[in-house]
Symmetry: C2
DNA sequence: TCGTTATTTAGGCAATTACCGAAATATTGT
DNA sequence: ACAATATTTCGGTAATTGCCTAAATAACGA
């Protein structure tokens, strides 16, 4: 769970997750939304992957990034344990 | 909101918040729960204060730390916007 | 096989973070 | 005013982070 919170600590990574919430996207399409170099973004992807917040799936020459909803919800639960509002109220 | 997520990225700081959830505590009492030097802990307090996650109140020679529930709930809302489960369902 | 496109890895640098011990500051009681 | 206690600030160091450009890897189509 620590890796998840560390991953969430950078605004670019949170924005990536927000994008992936709408739909899965490949690295290049994600990159178009940010004014930073692709290798830098690739590093952010690695952080998100190591935190299990996203999964990847190669499709030919591109790599699709998917949001891992179950881990997101786990993290939400951990956060609720901190932020009040006991219970998960699904 | 960025500072809040950054503050949450360190396990010691999350544990401090967890302690303060039960009751307000002074710096020294908090320090007894951690195997790290007091100046280090004081740095963590500063991070939490700058994120507005805690407030302080001097009581004589000690300084009481209080959890700032409203900011915690704001952060929870921001997280829910990421982690699915639209709406705040208070 | 060669060239093209998509993405990652490598190498390097500046800034930040986390930690510590020592010293400074603030408050109280004697 | 002084000593004792609580906490922070200072100064320093090692590790990590975030960013970049250049080079490497992977998959495809001609």
């Amino acid at each position: 769970m620590n890796k998840v919170f560390e991953a969430l600590a950078h605004p670019v990574r949170r924005d990536i997750l927000k994008l992936l919430r709408k739909r899965a996207m490949c690295a290049g399409d994600i990159a178009e939304h940010f004014p930073i170099a692709k290798p830098t973004l690739s590093g952010h992807f690695t952080v998100l992957k190591n935190a299990d917040l996203v999964t990847t799936q190669r499709q030919g020459t591109t790599i699709m990034y998917h949001l891992n909803m179950s881990v997101m919800e786990e993290a939400l639960g951990a956060f609720m344990a901190l932020a009040g509002n006991k219970g998960k109220e699904r």
